[in-house]
Symmetry: C2
C-alpha cells in the first residue's frame, strides 16, 4: 500500500517579504518522512483570505493530509481559522471548550481574556482541537486539514500533538554515499545504477570543498535491504 500523501500550506506576509525565514517546513518535512507520510507539495501564501481559502481547497482535494502554519493568533491579520471554515463551507464561532482552555490559562497568568484573545477560541464546527502545551490557544483539525500556529515552538508542539493520531506508512529511509568526483563524471554511471534499482529514488547533491568537486549520492526507499544493496552497487561503481 502506498504511503499517505501530504501537503503543507505556510501562511504569512512575513515569509514572503523576507522578514522571517520559515523554519516549520523543514521541521514538518523531517517529521512526516519519519512517520511514512509523503510530503508532496508546499505552498506559501500571504495573509489574504481568498489565497488561503483557494490553496486549502486545492491541496485538501488532492492530498490525504494538509498541514497549515500561521495566522491563528489574536491580531487582525490572523484570519486562517475563518478561511479554513470558508474552504469547507462550515460555520465558525467561539467554542466553549476552546474558550474554557483560554479562560483558565489567562486567569492563572493574571491577564485579561479580552475580545482579541477570544478570537483564538473561534473554531469551525465539527473540528477536533489540537493540543497546544506551549501557549494553550489550540489548533484544530477539520476534515483532512490540520491548522497550526506559525511560531516555531508552538508549531512543533502541535505537530507532536497531531501526528500520533494519523496513520503513517513505511518510514522513508535514506543512505548517503559521498563521492569525491565532479557531478558530471558521476551522472552517467549513477543513472545506470538508478535504472537497476527502479524501486528506489536516487538524488545527487553536489558540493565543492577546498577546491574538490564532489557529490553526496542519496538513495531513498522503504526497504533497508534494498537500500544497502544499492549503496553497495554505487560504492563499487565509484570505487
Amino acid at each position: 500500500m502506498p504511503n499517505p500523501t501530504a501537503a503543507m500550506l505556510v501562511i504569512g506576509d512575513e515569509i514572503l517579504s523576507g522578514r522571517t525565514r520559515d523554519a516549520n517546513m523543514h521541521y514538518l518535512a523531517g517529521q512526516l518522512t519519519e512517520r511514512g507520510i509523503d510530503l508532496k507539495e508546499v505552498r506559501v501564501v500571504g495573509d489574504e483570505a481568498q489565497e488561503i481559502t483557494d490553496a486549502t481547497k486545492a491541496l485538501s482535494a488532492r492530498y490525504d493530509h494538509v498541514f497549515t502554519s500561521g495566522g491563528i493568533g489574536p491580531t487582525h491579520d490572523d484570519i486562517t481559522a475563518d478561511c479554513i471554515a470558508a474552504a469547507f463551507d462550515t460555520p465558525i464561532g467561539i467554542r466553549d471548550d476552546a474558550r474554557a482552555l483560554l479562560a483558565d490559562f489567562y486567569e492563572k497568568s493574571g491577564r485579561e481574556l479580552n475580545d482579541a484573545r477570544l478570537r483564538m477560541a473561534r473554531i469551525p464546527d465539527g473540528a477536533a482541537l489540537i493540543d497546544n502545551p506551549v501557549s494553550v490557544a489550540p489548533g484544530f483539525s477539520l476534515e483532512n486539514v490540520h491548522v497550526m500556529a506559525g511560531v516555531p515552538s508552538v508549531f512543533k508542539a502541535m505537530v507532536a500533538s497531531v501526528l500520533p493520531s494519523l496513520t503513517g506508512g513505511a518510514p522513508l529511509l535514506s543512505e548517503t554515499l559521498r563521492v569525491a568526483r565532479g557531478e558530471g563524471d558521476i551522472a552517467g554511471p549513477l543513472a545506470e545504477v538508478a535504472t537497476q534499482f527502479s524501486d528506489l529514488s536516487f538524488g545527487s547533491y553536489p558540493f565543492q570543498q577546498d577546491g574538490v568537486y564532489g557529490a553526496n549520492l542519496v538513495v531513498r526507499g522503504t526497504d533497508s535491504t534494498r537500500l544497502a544493496k544499492a549503496i553497495d552497487a554505487l560504492a563499487e561503481t565509484f570505487s
Copy 2:
C-alpha cells in the same frame, strides 16, 4: 502603478524529504522586496515532470515573474529545463552558446565535457541565458520564467545576474516597533491604527523572552513618510 508580482517555484525531493533546508526562498524574498517586486506565492514540488510543468504553467499565467530553483545540473533527476520547455510547448536542445561556455570551462579545468555535462547546455528555443559566474553552467529566462540552480551560492549569483534586467517598483519598506505586552493586549488598539493607515500593512509577530510576552509590530509600505507617521501612532498608542 502597482508593483510587479512574482512567484517562486522550488524544485527538489531533498527539500520535501527534510534532507535539505531550503535557503533560496528567504534570499529571493529579501532581494525582491528591495527591488520592489512583490513575492505573492511560493510552491515547492518534487523532481516529477508533471508537477514541475503544471506548477510552472499555473504560476506563469498568474504572476509577472516566476523564479525557479533546482534541477538544472547534469544528473538524471535534473529535469527542470525540459519541464519548462514543455510548459511553453517550446523545443529544447543543446545550444551552441551554452555549449561553448561549458567547453571553455571544462577545458580550462582539465575535466571532460561528457554527455552528462552537455545536458546543462540544453536550453529551450528563444530563451535568454542567465550568467553563472560560479560554475558557468547557465540558467535561462523563457517568457516570464527565470530558471536558476538550487545550490545556494549559484542561485545567489544567478539572482544577481537576472534582477537588474527586470523592471522593479517602489521598494517595500518596513519599520518595526517592539512592544513588551502580550499580543492579545495589543491586538485591539493595533487594529484601530491599521484602519487609520489602510494604505500600509501591519503585522504582529509575538515573542516570549525571559518570561515577558511581547510582539514586534511591523508596518510595511512604500512611502517612508507614511511609515514614520504610522510608527509614531503606534508608539503613542502603546506608550
